[in-house]
């Protein structure tokens, strides 16, 4: 079977229903989207590119403050996860998905080992020295859009990242 390209129009009604659900059930009236979506073509071959990972699965380190999960306001902050992280120091603070797979193998949500293997094979140039952990439950996405997004972009730019791979929690 092949991959297929999805048409946003086919999902518009389902999306609007979700927006209404969040407004009604999570006090999340301030929906946000990328109004003018950017598109940055690859600037260099992947074999020369430095790659970062981002997860919204609530990943943080044991010596970092956990994300706030017991609040209707969510938590728009992020944590820097070093590429050479000791997996035994990784924690998961998120109450809106089943963390059991991630607890067995961090690579299910933040594939740091797989990225190292891709570097070893020469498929990508290098792993970013830092990756990003977030907690995705944010009924009001204003802080994510206005603060977290630009801050993460600046952190990855400072790390000379060319490519970033994102995964939801």
């Amino acid at each position: 079977m092949e991959s297929t390209v999805l048409d946003p129009e086919d999902f518009r009604a389902q999306y609007e229903k979700w927006v209404q659900f969040v407004a009604a059930n999570h006090h999340g009236q301030n929906n946000r989207v990328n109004e003018e979506p950017a598109f940055t073509p690859l600037q260099k071959p992947l074999a020369e590119a430095r790659v970062a990972l981002l997860t919204s699965a609530g990943v943080h380190l044991s010596d970092q403050e956990p994300f706030h999960t017991a609040t209707i306001a969510g938590d728009a902050t992020y944590r820097v996860i070093p590429n050479d992280v000791d997996f035994s120091a990784v924690r998961f603070a998120h109450t809106h998905y089943d963390t059991s797979s991630a607890e067995q193998d961090l690579n299910v949500v933040l594939p740091i080992t797989r990225l190292a293997e891709l570097v070893e094979r020469g498929r990508v140039g290098a792993a970013s020295p830092i990756h990003i952990g977030m907690m995705g439950f944010n009924p009001d996405p204003s802080a994510i859009a206005d603060t977290t997004g630009p801050a993460v972009a600046a952190a990855l730019t400072d790390a000379d990242v060319d490519v970033a791979i994102f995964a939801p929690g």
């Binding site: 999902f11 609007e16 979700w18 598109f39 919204s56 299910v108 600046a154 970033a164």
Partner: protein, 91 residues
């Protein structure tokens, strides 16, 4: 909501000149948020790269994202053909 949070940060990172691709498990939210590149997988939340300790599966999904980065010339969301089954049958 994870998908909207990820999509908004993805948009900001892409706007900063970094090429991005994401996994989507709720395609309507990823599409509605308008991201540059994403791949929809019919996997449960919490498993964007598949099952624990299945490196070949993780690599398959990562490779699909890398190919999307190499081939897309405009904002593109694709659906990957894999289904959530016990390992050994998922392809």
């Amino acid at each position: 909501m994870c998908h909207r949070s990820v999509g908004l940060v993805q948009g900001a990172v892409e706007a900063a000149g970094i090429s991005t691709a994401s996994v989507a498990l709720r395609p309507e939210i990823t599409l509605g948020t308008k991201v540059p590149r994403a791949a929809y997988l019919r996997f449960p939340l919490g498993n964007p790269f598949g099952e624990p300790n299945e490196p070949a599966q993780h690599h398959r999904i990562l490779e699909d994202l890398l190919v999307l980065l190499e081939t897309a010339t405009e904002p593109t969301v694709i659906e990957l053909p894999y289904r959530w089954r016990r390992w050994g049958k998922w392809l």
